[in-house]
């Protein structure tokens, strides 16, 4: 009896990809009963802000409404995933939940990516729902750009990576919940998401430079022509977001307890 490795080295990428899809599906199956609750929970904050915009912002210019709307959507696409994955990873870590997966012949990357992708999917559904509601009820139009999808994916994965890091570094689930909630509030109110950067106090302008949402909102505004700026800024925004994704992945890889 000699099983050796189930996957020959040549097909490692293919088997990792297959494992990733299986694990992501596993994650979705394992959270389906609470999916609707999650959808409601994750939609409350962005929808509340939209209501605020609708009731109090009648005198705002179209551009200001678009500006706030994009900030709101970036929040929906970025923060929900971070909250979801941060708290999930904290829970799994505290309860040795990763031990089961570590005893299966799967790669750490496939598992991590599946956790992150589940959170990203949880982000996209409320995000798209809000985009539809905006068009139907608030009559705010945002020009579409084909670069929007990669931008939203980078936005979501960069913050999901940050959430996973919080979950891994937090000593227990409760600390992970507090840390992710704090981070979400910090980004919502103390970064140039719904307030133009130049209107923020100088210290917050500095701290905003290390938040992926700053670059995501700027890129979306440039793509939608809500903000006029040098198109080369877009390259910088995409590059920084990509850098955040890679950095968070590297830090997760380093911190994530796995075999041995």
């Amino acid at each position: 009896m000699n099983p050796e490795r189930s996957h020959p080295p040549g097909s490692r990428f293919r088997s990792s990809l297959r494992d990733f899809f299986l694990l992501t599906w596993w994650q979705l199956l394992n959270a389906r009963a609470t999916a609707l609750l999650g959808l409601l929970l994750f939609s409350v904050f962005p929808l509340g802000l939209l209501m605020f915009l609708f009731f109090l912002g009648r005198d705002m210019s179209e551009r200001t409404r678009q500006y706030i709307l994009i900030g709101n959507l970036v929040y929906a696409f970025a923060m929900n995933g971070m909250l979801a994955v941060g708290q999930e990873v904290g829970w799994q870590k505290e309860n040795a939940g990763f031990d089961f997966f570590a005893t299966l012949p799967i790669s750490k990357h496939a598992l991590l990516l599946s956790f992150m992708t589940r959170a990203v999917l949880a982000t996209f559904i409320p995000g798209i729902l809000i985009m539809v509601l905006v068009r139907l009820f608030f009559h705010i139009s945002l020009p579409f750009s084909p670069l929007l999808l990669p931008l939203l994916l980078l936005t979501a994965y960069s913050m999901v990576g940050a959430g996973a890091l919080i979950g891994l570094y937090a000593p227990d689930t409760r600390a992970a919940v507090y840390a992710t909630e704090f981070m979400a509030l910090l980004i919502a109110y103390f970064s140039p998401l719904m307030v133009p950067k130049e209107h923020l106090p100088a210290p917050l302008q500095w701290t905003s430079m290390v938040l992926p949402t700053t670059y995501a909102a700027e890129a979306w505004r440039l793509l939608s022509r809500v903000e006029i700026g040098d198109p080369s800024r877009l390259v910088l925004d995409f590059g920084v977001l990509g850098g955040f994704v890679l950095l968070s992945f590297a830090l997760i890889e380093y911190k994530f307890d796995w075999r041995g």
Partner: protein, 317 residues
């Protein structure tokens, strides 16, 4: 193929936070196709040892070879050989047992068809039908444990490492699990490392046994060989009818080796040659009216366990 499934040499594990030496120089081998039991009290270091065998913990010192592969250098090799069932169950909420078994099989490399076949087989064998499509979080602890056992068995790994696999199961399902494991060993040659507190059940399945305490391996041998090292006397265990215990106690005083285990239970240690006389005596009309139950027990694995340091829970002095 290496001669041994596992070869462990001088394994030391120190938890640096509290400087606890959880494993202290453990060396053992696990042979292909055998069922090896690891016994020991809580906190003896069994789970720490097992977590190193499956690559979840890195040893402080020592070597672990799995079919000749160095587990410390290459822990990724372990899941290709070993299915591990830990004491803690995976955090499963909305996924059903059927899905969890199927996808575990798929993640162990089974084709969709093979995974489906095995899922059906284990649902049938372990009697999971009634709750196979219910979310895991809505199942009882025993039902979750059964699903977890099926998740361990799916994929036919040649080595199974099971940490308290029957914990929380009723006697019928415990028997079912032991039968399934024995069948797997006999028909497929599966190597099984079993960690359990249930010494009486373990005796029915294990071939060799290791006794661990204070992080050390105190004994490792065939059950029969180890039994020869313990008190060879036969135990006559007698339970009194309530209300007659004092009368019975007086009557049993004629046996020098009698011990009172608790209010109603007595134990007499006998040489083989004295057993029939003693049984004849307690079966006499005079005593039978006071006795609820009696058993004649030869040396057991439990005796081996206590002999090598296991802690007995009784009022025996």
């Amino acid at each position: 193929m290496s001669q041994e499934a596992y070869l462990v040499e001088n394994l030391v594990k120190i938890y640096p936070k509290n400087n606890v030496r959880a494993n202290d120089g453990i060396s053992l081998d696990i042979r292909w196709g055998e069922i090896l039991g690891l016994l020991g009290p809580n906190g003896a270091g069994k789970t720490t040892l097992v977590k190193q065998l499956v690559g979840l913990l890195k040893p402080t010192e020592g070597r672990i070879r799995l079919d000749g592969h160095d587990v410390v250098q290459d822990p990724d090799i372990v899941p290709h050989y070993v299915a591990y069932q830990g004491q803690k169950m995976p955090l499963l909420v909305d996924i059903t047992p059927r899905e969890a078994i199927y996808y575990t099989g798929r993640l162990r490399g089974l084709s969709p068809r093979a995974a489906r076949t095995q899922t059906d087989e284990f649902i049938e064998r372990l009697g999971l039908h009634d709750f196979a499509r219910r979310p895991m979080a809505k199942l009882s602890g025993g039902q979750q444990r059964l699903a977890h056992i099926a998740m361990t068995l799916v994929g036919n790994r040649p080595i199974l490492i099971l940490d308290e696999p029957t914990s929380g199961l009723d006697p019928e399902h415990r028997r079912l699990v032991w039968d399934l494991l024995l069948e797997s060993q006999k028909q497929k040659g599966t190597t099984i490392l079993l960690i359990t507190h249930n010494v009486l059940e373990a005796e029915q399945v294990v071939e060799r046994v290791g006794i661990v305490d204070h992080g050390r391996l105190l004994a490792l041998d065939y059950v029969g060989v180890l039994k020869q090292q313990v008190d060879q006397r036969i135990r006559l265990e007698i339970t009194a009818k309530p209300g007659h215990e004092e009368a019975l106690a007086s009557a049993l005083r004629s046996f020098e080796s009698v011990r009172r285990i608790n209010e109603l239970r007595f134990r007499i240690y006998l040489q083989k040659s004295d057993v029939s006389h003693a049984v004849g005596h307690i079966l006499s009309d005079a005593l039978m009216g006071w006795i609820n139950d009696y058993r004649v027990v030869p040396p057991t694995l439990e005796d081996v366990y206590f002999h090598f340091g296991g802690k007995e829970v009784s009022v025996e002095s």
